[in-house]
């Protein structure tokens, strides 16, 4: 681990911190255009974060210390996730710190903390949101791991960096297993990031909300951190999806010129991805909470199919 490697790692993290709200803003803007509304400015999430950081925190009387710690932990988990997922380069010092399974573990840790914090005040909405989040979590997590297993079997590794290198530098061939895995990954990302059709980040309609129900009691800097963490999660998932399924263009070393060269391509891929997300959110309606198991069950089956296709048909490739 040398100094330039550390600097490159730091650069990747800082870029994630500043790009993530931009991605959220871009998705919001696309969504507004597609729904013929007046679009909010691209920088809207930054304005919101700035405003929230300025406000006082209003804590409920029953809030415990866990409630106050949770936003920081969730934020820390998401920073770590962004540090692990290769965005610009595959050769960063933190890459061996956690492989894809550990990455799923990081998301799991954040989810447990936010659900516990939701139950902390003891309002009916909080625990409702907490249990729904855990419901989505235990349905999505196996599907996500199955997707990861498929890619791991192709590259004979669970390390994200190795997977990306293998997939990016392979001969161009269409893997049917990757197609299945890609669809499953899209489903899981929608659910995990609280997007339509599983959840709607723009609603506060009591009976349908999941993520918003959990953070109802948060305010001020805590809320800002949670919102920022949510953007980071979307960013991490997008980058993970790009890394697994469209890995071309990620630099192999930790040299700054190579990383800077990778930025425009990353921005292009992210903006296309964000636009597609807005399209999905526009053409779908939010479904009932108990349709979510079917939705995520489909994702799980697709992922398992991908794995079996890999094992049965592609073992000689």
């Amino acid at each position: 681990m040398n100094i330039s490697g550390l600097l490159a790692q730091l650069f990747a993290i800082v870029m994630a911190l500043f790009l993530a709200p931009l991605l959220t803003g871009w998705v919001g803007q696309c969504r507004a255009w597609l729904q013929s509304r007046t679009a909010p400015p691209l920088l809207q999430p930054y304005y919101m974060l700035h405003k929230l950081f300025h406000k006082d925190v209003v804590l409920a009387h029953g809030a415990s210390s866990l409630f106050r710690v949770a936003p920081f932990v969730v934020f820390g988990c998401m920073v770590l996730a962004c540090a692990i997922v290769p965005t610009l380069s595959t050769d960063l010092p933190f890459a061996p710190a956690a492989d894809t399974i550990a990455l799923v573990g990081v998301f799991g840790l954040a989810r447990v903390f936010i659900s516990l914090a939701a139950m902390d005040i003891g309002t009916s909405f909080g625990s409702l949101g907490g249990r729904r989040e855990m419901l989505v979590g235990f349905l999505a997590e196996p599907a996500l791991l199955m997707v990861i297993f498929t890619t791991a079997m192709i590259s004979q590794s669970t390390s994200v960096a190795t997977i990306v290198e293998t997939l990016a530098h392979r001969e161009f061939a269409i893997y049917p297993s990757l197609a299945f895995a890609g669809i499953a990954f899209t489903f899981v990302s929608l659910a995990e990031n609280a997007r339509v059709p599983v959840d709607n980040p723009a609603t506060h309609l009591e009976l349908t909300m999941i993520h918003e129900a959990m953070i109802l009691e948060y305010s001020g800097r805590h809320l800002a951190l949670i919102e920022w963490a949510a953007s980071l999660k979307l960013y991490a998932y997008s980058c993970l999806g790009l890394a697994l399924f469209f890995p071309w263009g990620v630099a192999a070393g930790d040299s700054f010129p190579a990383m800077l060269a990778a930025i425009p391509l990353l921005l292009l891929k992210l903006s296309i991805g964000g636009f597609l997300l807005a399209v999905i959110e526009t053409v779908n309606a939010k479904m009932r909470i108990f349709r979510a198991p079917e939705f995520l069950g489909t994702a799980f089956l697709l992922a398992v199919l991908g794995l079996l296709v890999r094992l049965l048909l592609e073992t000689r490739v």
Binding site: F53, H54, V57, V58, L59, A60, H61, G62, S64, S65, L66, V69, F72, V73, F75, L80, F94, P96, A97, A98, D99, I101, A102, G105, V106, G108, R111, V112, S115, L116, M119, D120, I121, G122, T123, S124, S127, G130, R131, M134, L135, G137, F138, E141, L145, M146, F149, Q156, S157, T158, S159, E206, L216, G220, R221, L225, F290, F300, L307, L311
Partner: protein, 669 residues
């Protein structure tokens, strides 16, 4: 001067535990002496056992013969690496539990403290003897002493009928299992009359008899460990026992059954057959899924943990099955990986499950409540217990950076690199099994959030909880010790695996240490860095750094002002603690999605009820499908036997007469 070998030290420890136990009989009612002197002394002995076992990992096996028992059948004892790794577990986990127990046992709770002290230490001593035994006779004597000691501990509060019933069920299943183990040993001696384990290793059984011995052992040890369908005693006995005893049973005693299974299937029975592994894998998967689903729907905190133990034992069985499959195909590197996962999960589960059971003990003493529906908000009154329980909860949910994640990670790695098995449909089953393991792990997270959230978070559901007090210093010390074990197992996996490796190497002939040696202690990379790696310390450091840095920056750049106000009540003023989710409410999604898995009895209120109530009761299918028919069958057969017993002496004389005539006819020269 003769040197003191480690095995002698362990025997001295057995005697010391028994002596500490007997000392309790000197003053059976003197709670202060027993709690503050004898239990800490027991903890010291546990520390000795832990360190001696740790030191003898990887050393050459030592044997000893004790001239006690029957005239021609002395006790054979042996200390090898497999014994040592479970000795480490027993020693270090018992330290935490004994220290906790020093603050836990009070006067006026069932059995006199002196007697309880004897039973507790006899339990510890017999578990150590089970690990040391090197012949079937010594093993069964120790095994039965362990079952009996734990039976008396379970029935500490024997004045309650349901506790007596739970104890009876436990004893019954323990003995059914013991018979099966005895038969398994019988098969393995193969009529040679040699009951020592070294004699059994020398036998070359035909594949039929070897399979019979394996299946009998799987059933017998499975009954002690809690594999489906012989798991039913666990959720009854654990809530019945005092919490340190539940912790000991769940954390340590279940692992002695795992030890027995490993000893028989890898050590005594030489070369396994591939389908043994499939059987263990299948039973393990069913057990794990069953355990975790039932643990999510429980309303009693100790039953929830008991079902979670069933789940973890299932995961361990899955690992054993995978090891057997790889070992039978001579894929030793993968077998070593799976075996490491098994042993690691034994250690990890022992740590976090005893921690959680002890926490329920503190909650029980502080609130007198075991039902989740009457707890809540205890983090305000019991911050020590709450924060230490959080460590157990995160480990139990299999999340980084604590211990449960490491074993799960190792197990998944073993699954992931399995392609290449020479059996086509095994190749397909294994990934599906991996998918189920992941589902189990994710559901465990749900159960643990429910456990923690409902006990410690939210508003207090009952007025009386306001008087709850935090655990005393003895209890805290015990909890801190176990939480530290959980943390260290999570943060220093490489160092732990290098030690476990001695046992893996003994059973499989190969280990992970060659491939891991060159990476350094902070890096866990069981195969190679390119394939998979995990650095828990970096992991933890990044999260802690971003938490601290984030806090500092926010406070520095903006401000740290905080106001208190009432929670948002949606404009509806009449929201009390009752508006929170109950334990039943929290698990409603699980009941709905997995409805066929449960036997549900529900009562729904109608619109016109003047006093509406809702109730739901979840029962185990196995009771109704397996145990009750079996009990009826046994009852019916016993009923037939009563036909012979007329109760009149003339009839019995007639029986004797007929028997005599028959014998004369048969035994004619």
């Amino acid at each position: 001067m003769p040197t003191l070998l480690p095995i002698d030290t362990l025997l001295i420890a057995v005697c010391a535990w028994l002596a500490v136990g007997l000392a309790g009989l000197v003053a059976p009612r003197n709670t202060r002496f027993i709690a503050k002197t004898l239990f800490p002394a027991g903890a010291l002995v546990g520390m000795l056992v832990g360190f001696v076992s740790l030191g003898s990992l990887g050393a050459a096996p030592e044997t000893a013969v004790l001239a006690i028992g029957l005239p021609d059948l002395p006790f054979h004892l042996r200390l090898d690496s497999l014994t040592a790794i479970f000795g480490v577990l027993l020693g270090f986990i018992s330290v935490g539990i004994s220290i906790f127990a020093a603050g836990y046992f009070r006067e006026g709770e069932g059995t006199a403290p002196g007697l309880l002290c004897l039973e507790y230490h006899a339990f510890l001593a017999s578990m150590l003897m089970v690990l040391l035994a090197d012949d079937a006779y010594a093993f069964m004597v120790a095994w039965e002493s362990m079952a009996l000691a734990s039976f008396f501990l379970v029935t500490t509060n024997h004045q309650h009928a349901e506790i007596r019933r739970a104890g009876y069920l436990y004893l019954l299943i323990a003995h059914v299992g013991a018979i099966s183990i005895l038969l398994s040993f019988g098969v393995m001696t193969a009529n040679s009359g040699d009951y020592t384990f070294s004699g059994m290793r020398g036998q070359h059984l035909s594949s039929f008899w070897a399979s019979a011995a394996y299946l009998l052992a799987l059933f017998g040890f499975g009954a002690k460990a809690g594999l489906v369908p012989v798991h039913v005693w666990l959720p009854e006995a654990h809530p019945a026992a005092p919490s340190p005893v539940s912790a000991m049973m769940s954390g340590v005693m279940l692992k002695t059954a795992i030890y027995g299974l490993l000893r028989v299937s890898f050590d005594l029975l030489g070369s396994p057959i591939w389908w043994w592994g499939v059987v263990a894998l299948g039973v393990g998967l069913v057990t794990a899924l069953f355990g975790v689903l039932y643990s999510t729907v429980q309303s009693d905190m100790k039953r929830l943990l008991a079902y979670s133990s069933i789940e973890n034992i299932g995961l361990i069985a899955v690992g054993i099955g995978l090891t057997l499959i790889f070992h039978s195909y001579r894929m030793e590197a993968l077998a070593a990986l799976a075996m490491t996962a098994v042993l690691y999960h034994c250690l990890a589960h022992a740590g976090f499950k005893s921690l959680l059971f002890l926490c329920t003990g503190s909650v029980l003493h502080a609130t007198k409540e075991r039902s989740l529906g009457k707890l809540g908000g205890l983090i305000h009154r019991m911050p020590w217990v709450a924060w230490l329980a959080l460590a157990g909860v995160i480990a139990s949910a299999g999340l980084p950076p604590l211990s449960g994640f490491i074993s799960e990670w190792l197990l998944l790695q073993a699954f992931l690199f399995s392609p290449g098995l020479p059996h086509p449909w095994l190749n397909m089953i294994v990934p599906v099994a991996a998918a189920l393991v992941v589902l189990v792990a994710a559901l465990a997270g749900f159960a643990m959030v429910k456990f923690y959230g409902i006990i410690f978070l939210g508003q207090m559901r009952e007025e009386s909880l306001k008087d709850a007090h935090d655990a005393g210093w003895w209890e805290r010390a015990g909890l801190i010790w176990l939480a530290l074990i959980t943390l260290c197992l999570g943060i220093f996996p490489s160092s732990v695996i290098l030690r476990i490796d001695a046992a893996t190497r003994q059973l499989l002939g190969t280990g992970l240490s060659e491939r891991m040696a060159d990476h350094g202690w902070w890096m866990l990379a069981p195969i190679s860095v390119e394939r998979a790696s995990y650095q828990p310390l970096v992991f933890l450091a990044v999260i802690v750094a971003s938490v601290l840095l984030g806090r500092q920056l926010v406070h520095h750049l903006y401000h740290g002002r905080t106001r208190r106000s009432a929670a948002w009540d949606c404009g509806y003023f009449f929201q009390g603690p009752r508006a929170q989710d109950t334990a039943e409410g929290f698990s409603q999604p699980i009941r709905r999605i997995f409805e066929p898995m449960f036997r549900l009895t529900r009562h729904f209120p109608t619109a016109r009820d003047t006093q509406p109530y809702y109730s739901v009761k979840v029962e185990d299918h196995f009771w109704h499908w397996l145990y009750l028919p079996l009990a009826r069958l046994v009852g019916g057969i016993s009923g037939l036997i009563t036909l012979l017993q007329g109760g009149r002496i003339a009839i019995y004389l007639l029986y004797s007469f007929i028997t005599l005539i028959l014998l004369l006819l048969v035994a004619r020269p």
